[in-house]
Symmetry: C2
Subunit: 231 residues, 2 copies
DNA sequence: TGTATCACTTTTGTATACTGAGTTTAGGCG
DNA sequence: CGCCTAAACTCAGTATACAAAAGTGATACA
């Protein structure tokens, strides 16, 4: 495990000086894993991490337990933890599940979305279009996330919202497989527009269908890239 | 917090002498909470628990963190943890979510169930009928759980299976609200029979419909009892 | 040369000690 | 008598120390 990876932890710490150390460490490691700065298979030794992050084993352990529960890290045969490999089977399961859940969330959103929520979604859409034209990828990524979050919130089901929000982060891992080309970005934008359109008409069936299709497209893009990488 | 509640922990420990203490404590506390032996609002002080369960704070903490993540216990404003109160809103959200997920699992099961899986479900059904006639409630409860697990497994989606399995345990908490009368048990049995029937015919739409209805019935029973308790 | 055993190393599991934040309580002052 | 303040207490957050399990390697014996 290279030490340089952990160089920017002090800056990360500064973000919220009141957050408990364990949560800091959790979020920090989670980000490293999801952005693949920590590669699958990397070993995570409590004492090493403690030294590198200038913390004792106790908060490290609690962060690791949480990551383990999320499925991002796994118990290494025999002993120690390591960053989990992603398997095609798991990815397919997750995409299938998310397809259902997004569809359901969209259905609920279509049924109950308020004018404010629709306006919010509309303005996010405009911003995203702007970003795509200017090729501001990072900002586009953040807006994309906000867009989906806004839908989850509009579903008015807190459990569903939390679940999808967690899964969305996880899917981030898979997205690193297929690079967003301008083409796929425009494609995605159009799908988003269709969704908002369906919400505006309060057409539940259409909203569900379009949302499901949206995730399904992402799944197909992932699988295509997977097949390229793994012959 | 009464000490007597924790009397049977040594026996619980005996079940698997190789399981780490933190997992023992987690499972033990979880069962106490779900069966309401630890009432909502009970305070959970690390040091107290350590003394009563003859363990140090470290494994206790790790067990508590896990329970907190599951939403079974909450950080009490200012200080300490306590067993979470259940809110009607959260229960309704969870039932709605489970309705969707069970429906989806049933659809998948109907599509792909093998002869072995169908036979397994059939025999569980027979056993349950036997138990209901003899009024063996505890055994019926365990079989009920196994029945749903068998469906999840038949869906062949591991993520979905894990998620529903966790939620099922959680719903146990809500079930303690409405007592299972022979009438509702027979009603439930019939719903289960309809589900297996749909699986046998590989009728996905029917399976989904019946499964959703099954959870929806449970939701209605819960809400009715809630309304009685809370005026 | 191959294998079995034993000491050693690595790393997690558990216990305990210390610290600091927030709460309660008791005493003094108006 | 009530209110404000400060000391004491409670309890979680973090650090450290010790124990135990499990791999690793070296040595001795066949």
């Amino acid at each position: 495990m290279k030490k340089e990876i952990f160089q920017d932890f002090p800056a990360f710490l500064g973000k919220d000086p009141f957050m408990p150390m364990r949560d800091m460490i959790y979020q920090y490691l989670r980000e490293l894993i999801i952005t693949r700065q920590l590669e699958p298979g990397s070993r995570l030794v409590e004492e090493d991490l403690g030294e590198k992050l200038h913390a004792s084993r106790t908060p490290i352990r609690e962060a690791l337990r949480k990551l383990e529960l999320e499925g991002l890290i796994k118990q290494h045969k025999g002993r120690g933890l390591e960053v989990g490999e992603i398997s095609l089977e798991d990815a397919m399961d997750l995409y299938a599940l998310c397809t259902e859940l997004e569809g359901y969330a969209a259905r609920l959103a279509a049924a109950t979305a308020t004018e404010e929520e629709l306006a919010e979604l509309g303005s996010l859409l405009d911003e995203m279009e702007f970003c795509i034209d200017r090729n501001e990828k990072e900002r586009e990524r953040i807006l994309h996330r906000s867009f989906h979050m806004a839908i989850y919130k509009a579903s008015k089901n807190k459990r569903l919202s939390k679940l999808l929000s967690d899964y969305n982060d996880y899917l981030q891992l898979f997205r690193s497989y297929y690079i967003s080309t301008p083409h796929t970005l425009h494609q995605t934008l159009e799908e988003h527009q269709q969704m908002v359109e369906a919400f505006r008409k309060h057409d539940e069936d259409l909203a569900e269908k379009v949302a499901k299709n949206h995730i399904h497209m992402a799944q197909k893009a992932f699988q295509a890239q997977w097949d390229v990488y793994n012959k």
